[in-house]
């Protein structure tokens, strides 16, 4: 498909407009920052800030609030779009059909016809949720509106306690998603292979060998199985760290770019909204790529354990 210049401009203009909108609140925050802005340079805290504490370790953190907002938004949007289903879709219904159908055909190409019918609900949910939470975290105000040590009316030197925080910039959330996948993975593996087949799939010898070589292969694949168990147990850790690391690093980078130039104050007011703009494009890309990576990795892990050698891959 060839995209003409006009089409390209039509695609790019709204993006540019939204990027400039993203950057606008930075002007006001830079104006408010005052002389003590140097304090803000140490970046975002590693853990989500507790907004309401109930005691006994229970609390509502700012990333939980964003989780609920995004989940509620997706649910309401989906309900409204599918309330009055037409034969010829348009508007919101068309958007959801395009998204779900696109995901379905894409996943069918990766993990096959049989598995996609059984596991599509999980992968589609994970992809849509991670994508929208990543992009929600880019909306200006997330991570910048909140409470902090004040000096006079409406003047905050540095926001310690943001009201909202990017969901995947909280390791609890990414680890929870990885653990849910791990539980699903075990259930699917047991359903597809049976308990014996599951053990055999991990520890059993592969390939056709006979005689003494077969005995050797059994020993070798037993040791390989131990290695495989370690790698399987490490998967939730690597899945959650990868998503958390990417999103958290992105938020830190945007903050660093917004506070790059501190003096003189007039230059700070000009550069703090302008410098992060290219990085906003990068973060939009990272948001979709990380959602894709999480979905693809989980899908491939599922495929690897559910694949049957004798049937071949179809």
């Amino acid at each position: 498909m060839i995209i003409t210049f006009k089409q390209l401009r039509r695609l790019v203009m709204p993006l540019m407009a939204s990027a400039i909108c993203f950057a606008l609140p930075a002007i006001s925050s830079a104006a408010e920052a005052g002389e003590q802005a140097e304090k803000a340079e140490h970046g975002i805290s590693l853990h989500a800030v507790k907004l309401v504490e109930f005691g006994h370790g229970f609390a509502i953190t700012n990333s939980m609030v964003v989780t609920w907002i995004v989940a509620l938004g997706i649910i309401i949007f989906a309900r409204i779009a599918t309330r009055n289903i037409q034969d010829v879709p348009e508007g919101a219904q068309n958007f959801w059909e395009w998204l779900v159908e696109g995901l379905y055909t894409f996943l069918e190409g990766v993990i096959g016809h049989h598995l996609v019918r059984k596991t599509f609900w999980f992968f589609a949910t994970i992809f849509i949720f991670i994508l929208f939470t990543n992009w929600f975290g880019l909306i200006p105000g997330v991570g910048t509106l909140g409470w902090g040590p004040g000096e006079g009316s409406l003047s905050i030197a540095h926001v310690d306690k943001p009201l909202l925080r990017g969901v995947n910039a909280d390791l609890n959330m990414t680890f929870a998603m990885a653990i849910i996948f791990f539980a699903c993975w075990i259930v699917w593996a047991l359903q597809e292979n049976g308990p014996g087949g599951f053990i055999l799939h991990i520890f059993g010898p592969k390939g056709n060998t006979t005689g003494l070589l077969k005995v050797l292969m059994i020993v070798v694949f037993l040791i390989v199985g131990v290695l495989e168990v370690v790698s399987i147990l490490f998967r939730p850790v690597s899945l959650s760290f990868r998503l958390f690391g990417n999103v958290y690093a992105g938020e830190n980078m945007l903050e660093a770019m917004a506070t790059l130039i501190q003096n003189p104050p007039w230059l700070r007011m000009v550069t703090s909204p302008l410098i992060p703009i290219p990085f906003y494009f990068l973060e939009l890309l990272v948001g979709i790529v990380q959602a894709l990576v999480f979905m693809l990795l989980t899908a491939v892990f599922t495929l690897l354990i559910c694949q049957h050698e004798e049937k071949g891959h179809h």
Partner: protein, 69 residues
Amino acid sequence: MAPLLAEIGGNIHIGLAALGAALGVGFIGMKASEAVGRNPGAATQILVQAILSTAFAEGIVFFAIYLAH
């Protein structure tokens, strides 16, 4: 020279991990583009392979970061 090297220390292993991961991601991107150029019809499968390999390559940096402390 020795005090200077001691000063450098710190998180140098994160830098090395980032260097390796960046090289890895670059190689994956290069080969993926070459593959798509040779066989544009297989673009989707190549994208899947490339994204998976990229994820594994960049995961190294995060392990290096978290093992730093």
